[in-house]
């Protein structure tokens, strides 16, 4: 199954929302972020990966360290709620297109 990594799905998870709140004020390393949670480090890494893939987080390299910071523009999209609305129409229209491509008139 191909898991859709969209913003909508990303913010549906409470841990990921907590991560976003955490890095909202300052850029942090994965280790510093993980220290705030009881969950295992690989689990936090997975959450960071998903948030980065859907562009809610941005990575910046400082020497050997990678810091995560919030992508303000993308967060604004979420705040405006346009993305879930768009995603709903996208899904609906994709379905329409698939059905109509298979459509064969009876007559």
């Amino acid at each position: 199954m191909n898991l859709r990594r969209d913003v909508f799905q990303a913010i549906a998870d409470p841990t990921r929302r907590a991560i976003l709140l955490l890095v909202a004020s300052q850029a942090m390393t994965a280790g510093a972020i993980a220290a705030n949670f009881d969950t295992a480090r690989p689990t936090v890494s997975k959450h960071l990966q998903i948030l980065t893939e859907c562009e809610l987080l941005q990575q910046t390299q400082t020497g050997r360290e990678i810091h995560y910071q919030i992508n303000a523009q993308k967060m604004k999209d979420v705040a405006d709620f346009i993305e879930p609305f768009r995603a709903m129409w996208e899904e609906r229209f994709t379905k329409l297109e698939t059905i109509m491509n298979q459509y064969k008139p009876d007559r």
Binding site: D80, F81, F85, M88, W89, E90, T94, E97, M100, N101
Partner: protein, 160 residues
């Protein structure tokens, strides 16, 4: 991530535009909006009524696995120009338990032929107020979470 569908919703305005290009001739795209069987398939709803004519009306109803009505919407079809345009209203009927009311909205659906095999649909929705437009846009956020749970439940039911 595919971004075929675009939403234009300016801050402080009470309308919005949904635009999407399809790999379909315009005749097939139009048919998807006017053939009750096809509407039922892609909208995943029961089409109780769909009169594609000037001064016609429509009504859709969606039920869950327990056959309970979870969504019902209706409106009037103001005007139809085949393969070109549908002007209609859309009103969501509130669930009995819900305190939220949604005002009727006006929709202009414009179908454009791009090539012999591609087409474009522009849906221009006009709401009663800026607040009601914004509330409608926020709705999928709550709905999406429900859908995710329902899908999970459906998968679990299959496994059991």
């Amino acid at each position: 991530m595919e971004r075929k569908t675009t939403i234009q919703a300016e801050t402080g305005k009470q309308d919005l535009r949904i635009t999407r290009e399809f790999d379909l001739p315009v005749e097939l795209l139009f048919k998807a909006y006017t053939e009750p069987d096809l509407v039922a398939q892609w909208m995943e709803t029961n089409v109780l009524k769909l009169e594609n004519k000037n001064h016609g009306s429509w009504q859709f109803e969606t039920t869950n696995a327990q056959n309970e009505v979870v969504f019902r919407a209706n409106g009037v079809i103001h005007a139809v120009i085949p393969n070109r345009k549908i002007t209609r209203t859309f009103e969501m009927e509130s669930a009995p338990a819900s305190a939220i009311r949604f005002d009727v909205q006006l929709e202009f659906l414009e179908f454009e032929s791009l090539t012999a095999t591609t087409s474009r649909l522009i849906i221009h929705q006009v709401y009663r107020s800026v607040a009601s437009r914004n509330r409608m846009m926020q709705l999928p956020f709550a709905q999406g979470l429900n859908i995710a749970h329902n899908r999970l439940q459906a998968i679990i039911n299959q496994v059991n």
